[in-house]
């Protein structure tokens, strides 16, 4: 069975070629999308500069980073806790919760926004909003971002917790560890990759969250203006170059953060080479 020649080698080569074509074509499309922004921004360099110089855009930048980090942290803890519960315990209604947690992922973002707005402004919960000033303020941004982020964290973490199926957790319990000790010393450290993946996806979703923010937090210039809202506002005032410039800014930040995540996810145990046998 020499696989380097004969008819099988040819078909392997063809198979590889198909894969490579798919990869190249799609990468080109993605690069072209970024390039289109560069091009539009490049045509109106003064406009770009004028846009990025606005204090509102700088505020939007800090607000975007601040709210997305904040909501990522909340999403991470809440999502992980629920994922651990559903993965470890069987109880009445756990299947229902499992289904429910997927809802924010499948719902159109706008539905989340309008539902939040109705919940906080049309139901008896309105006293809560009067008290804490959530709707049309910064907390609304965080709430909207957290809802979707938590769903993504839940999905990612539950897949990991299910995969372990509690084997090493059970062994840790035989050694006298409480459920809390098992969770903090065994489950969490063993799920480091999944945690990093959760952070990346929850943050990316939060950073780019637009629909719910637009409806629930409004689009007040410089007040509830996160970067996607800035793009919307610039586009609505006809400033295409400015919108492209902010898009590029978002791409840049996302790229930096994702590289950072990749870098930190390299585990000190898994990166060390081979076994010394």
């Amino acid at each position: 069975m020499n696989r380097s020649n004969g008819p099988s080698a040819n078909s392997d080569r063809r198979f590889d070629a198909v894969l490579i074509v798919a990869a190249v074509v799609f990468s080109t499309v993605l690069l072209a999308l970024i390039g289109a922004n560069v091009w539009v921004a490049g045509l109106d360099r003064i406009g770009v500069w004028e846009t990025l110089k606005q204090t509102e855009i700088q505020q939007a930048l800090w607000l975007s980073i601040g709210t997305s980090v904040y909501s990522t942290v909340i999403s991470l803890w809440v999502g992980t806790a629920i994922a651990h519960l559903i993965s470890q315990r069987q109880f009445w209604g756990c299947r229902f919760i499992d289904l429910l947690m997927d809802l924010p992922v499948f719902l159109p973002p706008l539905v989340i926004g309008i539902s939040l707005l109705i919940l906080f402004r049309q139901t008896p919960l309105v006293w809560f909003d009067e008290w804490f000033h959530i709707a049309f303020a910064v907390p609304a941004i965080i709430v909207a971002q957290t809802i979707v982020g938590t769903a993504f964290v839940y999905r990612t973490m539950k897949a990991t917790f299910d995969q372990h199926a509690g084997r090493i957790e059970g062994i840790a319990e035989t050694l006298g560890a409480s459920r809390w000790q098992v969770f903090s010393r065994i489950t969490l450290p063993a799920s480091k990759q999944a945690i990093v993946a959760s952070i990346a996806i929850a943050w990316a979703r939060a950073f780019g969250e637009f629909g719910p923010v637009l409806v629930f937090a409004g689009s007040f210039r410089g007040r509830t203006e996160v970067l996607p809202v800035s793009i919307y506002l610039e586009l609505n005032s006809g400033n295409v170059a400015g919108a492209a410039a902010i898009s590029l800014l978002m791409i840049l930040i996302a790229a930096i953060v994702l590289l950072l995540v990749r870098f930190t996810s390299r585990d000190r145990f898994t990166s060390r080479a081979g076994s010394p046998r």
């Binding site: 505020q59 800090w62 601040g66 980090v69 942290v73 991470l76 409806v215 689009s219 609505n236 006809g238």
Partner: protein, 268 residues
């Protein structure tokens, strides 16, 4: 575990500082909230800045503006009660609000007319969209944008429906239409005579009789507003000579109708 808690805590604190830092220039809850038609972003942004630094603003009020299509503003206000003032592109919307006893009678601010906008085609080609021209169009939807409603009224609802079916794009706000035309996505679009001011490359033509439809921009105060005094101060500023100059700079004609004429519902 401890490190996770530590990192989380640090991230929360750091991001809280970032959020506070980002907002330090604009302080929050006591701002007067203006719901404003998206097409009026140009003059209203200037009004906002002028008011905040004017001596009419003795209490140091800050103004926050939400720019959307007028029907969406109505929906948002109904759902959430957000907003102290309404500035709509066409007093028709005020009438809807006034009739449903949501806001008081509008104070007129300026006047604009529907027109056709274009960049590269000739004026004749632009006018040809009224009778099956060979040009591509971006048209505002009558149920979403004041301009769509206006044009539909002028050319007749059925004709406009036909024009919409032939259009390459149909949009919710006049600015979206103008952006389409400005970017060369389409040849011709419908807009207000004031719209081309926001775009350097737009030309406009007012078809015959279109100037008989005048759209009055008006401002009214919501009954639900908890800052009515402050809202009235801003409204007064809009109607003052300083405010009127800003509208004139953006191509609006002086308003003709008085507030009384515009309001058909009883005053509260």
């Amino acid at each position: 575990m401890r490190s996770y808690v530590g990192i989380s805590g640090f991230a929360m604190i750091a991001s809280t500082f970032l959020i506070l830092f980002a907002r330090s220039a604009n302080q929050g809850h006591d701002a007067v909230v203006v719901l404003c038609a998206a097409s009026l972003a140009g003059p209203v942004t200037e009004l906002q800045e002028a008011f905040q630094s004017s001596k009419l603003n003795a209490d140091g009020l800050s103004i926050d503006v939400l720019y959307r299509g007028s029907p969406e503003l109505l929906a948002l206000h109904r759902i959430s009660g957000v907003g102290d003032l309404l500035i709509a592109a066409d007093v028709h919307y005020h009438r809807v609000f006034v009739e449903t006893e949501i806001c008081d009678a509008p104070m007129p601010l300026g006047k604009q007319f529907p027109c056709l906008i274009f960049t590269s085609v000739s004026e004749k080609d632009a006018l040809s969209i009224l009778n099956h021209g060979g040009v591509t169009t971006s048209l505002p939807k009558p149920q979403h944008a004041a301009i769509g409603r206006a044009v539909a009224k002028i050319v007749g609802a059925q004709t406009y429906q036909r024009m919409l079916q032939n259009a390459r794009v149909s949009r919710e706000t006049v600015t979206q239409v103008a952006t389409d035309v400005s970017n060369g996505v389409v040849d011709v679009g419908c807009a207000w005579t004031t719209t081309p001011r926001q775009f350097s490359n737009l030309k406009n033509v007012v078809p015959p009789h279109w100037d008989q439809y005048e759209s009055q921009v008006g401002v009214s105060v919501f009954y639900a507003s908890q800052k009515r005094a402050a809202a009235n101060a801003f409204r007064k500023f809009c109607a003052s000579p300083a405010g009127q100059n800003i509208f004139a700079d953006h191509g609006f004609s002086a308003p003709t109708a008085s507030a009384k004429n515009l309001a058909s519902a009883p005053q509260k």
